[in-house]
Symmetry: C2
Subunit: 381 residues, 2 copies
């Protein structure tokens, strides 16, 4: 078991109606004015925006609006947010939405307290040692952004979907109300399930040292996601299933499962980021294309763990059956499981591989994932 630091100071407020406490929570922390970051309008449709505003106003917390954050969130919106913070004496950033919104909030929080270009953090030209406090109300369980210090942003000029990570970006408090997730479409439910499973399996399969305890935690998350997704396809308003799905999602990428593991990395995310950057495909959809392909390409490098996965998650006896079962399940829930199913032409493989290789180098994975290897993986997709 490898040495590690586990430090996750995010406080989770989980349950029905918790969003109505947001103003009080912020005021208690001495926050007088927030930048309120959100997406393209769904929080207004479900009345969440109105409840948040009411809670802020009741607690005497002022707010400046930044709506319009899109899926695969854009650097230009982050720049805009940073300007708003700097010109409005903002104390904190409150993201209300899914991973894109919370990721944008974090990037704004990091960029607003420095003079350097925030993109320098993403390309390892500068490192984060402070940030404005971030708070979140999460409406989509997938990214676990509500309980980690990660942020993934797309630079539309350079077509780079890159990331940062710092404990300074962990939300101080995240509100998780499963009821707010009931309006998620079946399509996005599927993409979310794939994303959570992706977070779970990356280190599980790639670590050179993966303790049994950590494997059991990962399998617990995956089994829970499979079970609750199947319930939610039939019964989207099932509170308990939404709740377990959401809590499992937070655990999948909050530092718990990767603690003590050695040598793990994120190849599926690395390749998917290229798909999203080039084709603006939803992250979970891109992962559903990449994961089975990568598993087929990689399985012999860690056959024992692939056999374990097959047995524990699907009750199957071989690595191949485990991979097939996962791919069929992605297909069953409505996620694309090949490039054509995701409307991405196979002719784009060289361009995708080139883009992904840029990230492989950034993440220190360039030795294991050269352009040819990435093309080979995509050959299975």
């Amino acid at each position: 078991m490898d040495s590690f630091t586990y430090y996750n100071p995010t406080r989770i407020e989980f349950g029905r109606d918790k969003e109505n406490t947001v103003g009080e929570l912020l005021a208690h922390d001495g926050i007088g004015r927030v930048l309120l970051v959100y997406g393209t309008g769904s929080i207004k449709k479900i009345g969440l925006y109105q409840r948040v505003i009411a809670s802020l106003e009741k607690a005497g917390v002022e707010y400046v609006d930044l709506g319009g954050i899109v899926s695969n969130p854009l650097l230009s919106d982050v720049y805009h947010g940073i300007e708003l913070v700097k010109s409005n004496k903002i104390d904190a950033v409150l993201g209300v939405g899914g991973g894109s919104v919370i990721d944008s909030s974090k990037a704004i929080a990091a960029g607003a307290v420095v003079e350097t270009d925030v993109w320098d953090f993403f390309i390892n030209k500068a490192s984060i040692d402070k940030a404005l406090p971030v708070y979140s109300i999460v409406t989509l369980a997938a990214a676990a952004s509500e309980m980690n210090g990660n942020s993934v942003i797309t630079n539309e000029a350079t077509k780079q979907k890159y990331s940062i990570a710092s404990v300074h970006l962990n939300p101080k408090i995240s509100i998780v109300n499963p009821e707010l997730m009931m309006s998620v479409t079946k399509e996005y439910l599927a993409y979310s399930a794939v994303d959570i499973i992706a977070h779970s399996i990356e280190v599980y399969f790639t670590a050179t040292d993966h303790p049994n305890f950590q494997s059991r935690l990962v399998e617990s998350i995956i089994k829970t996601v499979i079970e609750t997704t199947e319930i939610l396809i039939e019964d989207p308003a099932n509170y308990d299933a939404r709740a377990e799905f959401a809590w499992a999602s937070s655990q999948a990428l909050n530092g718990l499962t990767s603690s003590g593991t050695g040598g793990g990395n994120f190849p599926n995310h690395m390749i998917e980021h290229a798909l999203s950057a080039l084709f603006n495909i939803p992250h979970g959809a891109g992962l559903a294309i990449v994961i089975p392909a990568w598993m087929k390409w990689y399985k012999d490098k860690n056959i024992t763990q692939f056999e374990r996965f097959a047995k524990e998650v699907f009750g199957k006896d071989s690595a191949d059956e485990g991979i097939t079962s996962l791919q069929r399940w992605f297909d069953f829930i409505g996620a694309p499981v090949s490039l054509p199913k995701g409307n991405i032409p196979r002719e784009a493989i060289p361009e995708i591989a080139q883009n992904a290789y840029g990230l492989a180098k950034m993440w220190g994975m360039g030795d294991a994932y050269c352009v040819q290897s990435i093309e080979d993986i995509l050959g299975y997709a």
Copy 2:
């Protein structure tokens, strides 16, 4: 799934040699002088005390010594620590030892910043809203005190073993080096294993609402403890087994497994505290006596979960077989599984029940656990 707050701001520094960074970590947090709390000498035998002192001195952190903390730690030592803090301008409390030492450190930290009697916190006459910062270096994985805000102290005058819990008492940083645990005796390894399993099953069996995900996490912990204990009985210096055992131990009582569960309580701990208070039996040994007895008495109240436990943990088909398997495993590892095996006379049952009932009332469990019920449970022991 019930609403909950999850907030665990303890930073874990896990791995070999981490204790040598303690001075640096304290100095970084602005700590100039600590109360150094430890037990009855084993940390000196293994050279840990000397390494801690060297690290503190190198970082310019002064210290005042408080050794001699015993298993089932005493209120008198807590009072002594509070006096030392108040008369020596102490900034923080550093506990180096097992659960007893860290629990004592927390009680001292809570009592040192108020004028009220610290015991008032234990008998619900006052509540904790601040404390000195606590740090820990843990040498025994069992209590999870290194990653929670709990403290259990015995008032030797009143023969009450009572507890407090507050996030203000969560250690700021806990150092967990599995190598420091290699000198634990086989006896205490067994008691520790029982204690961790006890933390895992209390809410698992007693909650009126226990989500599948939480059940899976609990079963992951129990399976890991069983697996690694059996390795450590044969090979006490097995680093990886010590490490998994320790990390599973922290997870068993840090708020993770109980999040979202409803209606759970701690009947086995409630009864065991009476055994320890009256007979000064090690906590894990007392639990090994109580748990199988309580399971036999309680099983029909939640037969589905008992059947699940039997199947998932031991591959057995009935609740009774699950209970027998656990009792036999406790016996196999060398923990006492009946009152006579723990050298406690059956004639003491009424006195034990009376003492436990005092705690049942304190913990709000008095309706479910009257004196007669506790006597009935102990009848199985």
